[in-house]
Symmetry: C2
Subunit: 410 residues, 2 copies
């Protein structure tokens, strides 16, 4: 029952009726297999899961009754009679919400976590949970109206530490007013479906594993460099959260006791050197001191500077901006090198807004890691940019929601 | 069959006959439960594992036939008829070998991994696998003769990266001649029992979890500071090894590209600042430059200096030695702080030879970690010294051997 509360007041599930409950472990395995590998013939489903024919038929029929699966086109011939494919019902929908420091993104996906509709708006997470979640709900209603269907479950990503079990943020440094706000229960009662709440980088890591650059990898770290810096850790194909749920919180690793002030109240954190806000701050210094003509011009045009301006300046070959990225990438690389030596992952994925700095940043991180970690740990280690970009978070949140929807509930 | 090879030449199993094979999953669960929690009444065993009475009786009787369990004393009364305890057969033996950079330790334990006999000799790992393993075998024969019994399995800890699956070291930096030497298969054929081979710090971490300061904790890191520096990672109660088996290899994290030369061939590694060899090197400088009277005296007495002399000097309040430990502890703490932010463990245990520097070192590491990691990650985080000391490695190796011995083999 975790994550699912019956509607309590003015229940307004946008589309369809109450989501169906998965009844058996085998039903759960069938749904998960189809989500991850697409429609299959009954024969193939039975073989892959080691299910006897009669049992398989009963479970597939039950899933069809529940409206969770449907027949698709004909399967590729294997010599005998042509069989039909069984796939997840095309009318099923997953809802994914990606709350960033300065934006809200909402996606509606099909049951394979393929994005059907994606809306993004600017929105300050600092305006508090009620305002931000209301915006998210309004956006979701819009998005669901465009691609109507039967809502199975919803997944939310938040830019701070989260108690996954309780479905709420816990002491998030950049989210005033959100501490222990019951995000899951509030949204579950509004949407009338199960809701999962996770940290945004965990969602991004899962997204890249389901549909992006890390497909089929079980052990990887996803490093997000945006307004904040964080890291999602997948071990054995599952999110590793740590004992207090803060695993991956690398943005506030202190590099220097006497470093620049950080939004968390401390100083010298990695984020205070290379987060989005730090980049904007340093860009401003470069513009005002006349060390970067490009940034000075951007400043006089827009009245302010952001990490995006640094990216543009870097692209234009501005020397001071390139140096800024190099310096930041070196610091980030130093931290990532320690993590690589420590956890020996199968891949490092770099994403988030500042990752738009792209190959310059990547080169710097790579050079740090390859120079500073054990050869055995880096020998077969790809360090790559996120493939899904802005979609990583919503695809991962949809995936987590589908895990919840496809689990047996009693 | 992994880890078990039939004797190939001159099989000399020291005591007893071929170890019995565990036949069912329930037998395996029974043995593991008794190992971890001691003898129990049949009623309690059945309750704990959810086994119906008839099935339990059959499995316990079969284990008794195999010589794996025996009746112990009477159980504490629960009101009814007094029942007898069932425990692991007291004649069973596990063998544990802890190979360090400069020593070989051998322990014989009972089936609960309690050490019955422990022998340690000086031995240079650099003298190569044949010489070192022959010494280990000779010591084992001595030790087994003192506490004879039926040998179930043996576990080996090596001071370098190990392929657990293949039972051999892989590219170990301080072990010339050991690369891919078939340690497991060689010893299994000599002893005629299953053998497991693991990294020494993984063994130490498991030892502290089974019988030391980390009892009942599932997520912890064990940091060993000895001749080398390494780290064992337990997540969810299991050793986390990484994709290439190098997880935890923090000794060669590079702190400074232009730092002191390291035994691995690189420079600026953590180990080059604070491993046993680095401490001896710095102690020599302090002695010769006249900055430490205590160390100068030790040097003139013994002709050389080691980490142990630094510990003595620190204990005597020698200012220069205390500073050395502070400086090293600060560097170690810096690395541990990153790991704590990253993995959010439930405990950090510090052990190994240099850990004899004790509370001075501990204070320095604690202050670094508590200052540099997120409050949420450090709020309930104990950072403690190893409780088992020299025995951590052998107890952990015995535990891993028992896992192998108590697993179902077909």
């Amino acid at each position: 029952m975790d994550g699912f509360s019956p509607p309590m007041e003015a229940p307004r599930q946008p589309i369809g009726d109450k989501p169906p409950r998965v009844e058996t472990h085998d039903q759960s395995r069938l749904l998960t297999l189809m989500r991850d590998e697409g429609p299959m013939s009954r024969v193939e489903l039975g073989e892959r899961l080691g299910l006897p024919r009669a049992r398989l038929a009963a479970e597939v029929n039950r899933l069809a009754e529940l409206g969770l699966v449907e027949s698709g086109g004909p399967a590729a011939s294997r010599g005998g009679r042509r069989s039909t494919l069984v796939g997840l019902s095309s009318s099923l929908r997953l809802l994914a919400v990606d709350i960033g420091a300065t934006s809200v993104g909402v996606a509606v996906t099909d049951p394979y976590c393929e994005v059907l509709e994606h809306l993004v708006e600017e929105c300050e997470v600092r305006s508090g949970p009620v305002a931000v979640l209301d915006r998210a709900v309004a956006l979701s209603t819009l998005a669901l109206a465009k691609v109507p269907g039967r809502l199975l479950a919803a997944g939310i990503g938040l830019p701070g530490p989260v108690s996954f079990r309780e479905g709420m943020p816990v002491a998030p440094p950049i989210m005033p007013g959100w501490d222990r706000f019951p995000v899951r229960d509030r949204l579950a009662s509004q949407w009338g479906c199960p809701v999962t709440v996770d940290n945004d980088v965990n969602a991004m890591a899962l997204g890249e594993r389901h549909a992006g650059v890390a497909r089929s990898l079980d052990d990887l770290i996803f490093v997000k460099v945006g307004t904040g810096i964080g890291c999602g850790i997948l071990l054995g194909g599952r999110v590793y959260r740590g004992v207090a749920g803060t695993a991956g919180d690398i943005g506030h690793i202190r590099l220097d006791d006497f470093g620049p002030a950080c939004a968390c109240g401390e100083s010298g954190c990695l984020e205070a050197y290379f987060g989005g806000a730090a980049l904007a701050r340093d860009a401003l210094t470069l513009a005002r001191s006349g060390r970067s003509e490009f940034l000075a011009e951007s400043l006089s045009r827009h009245g302010e500077l952001s990490a995006r301006d640094v990216a543009l300046a870097t692209g234009a070959g501005d020397f001071a901006a390139v140096n800024l990225v190099r310096e930041g990438g070196r610091r980030l690389g130093q931290v990532v090198a320690s993590l690589v030596s420590f956890i020996n992952p199968g891949m490092v994925v770099i994403g988030g807004g500042v990752a738009r700095l792209g190959h310059q940043l990547l080169a710097e991180v790579r050079s740090s890691v390859y120079r500073r970690s054990m050869p055995l740990a880096t020998g077969n280690l790809p360090i790559v940019l996120s493939e899904l970009g802005d979609l990583a978070g919503v695809i991962g949140a949809a995936w987590t929601a589908s895990e919840r929807a496809f689990a047996v509930t009693t």
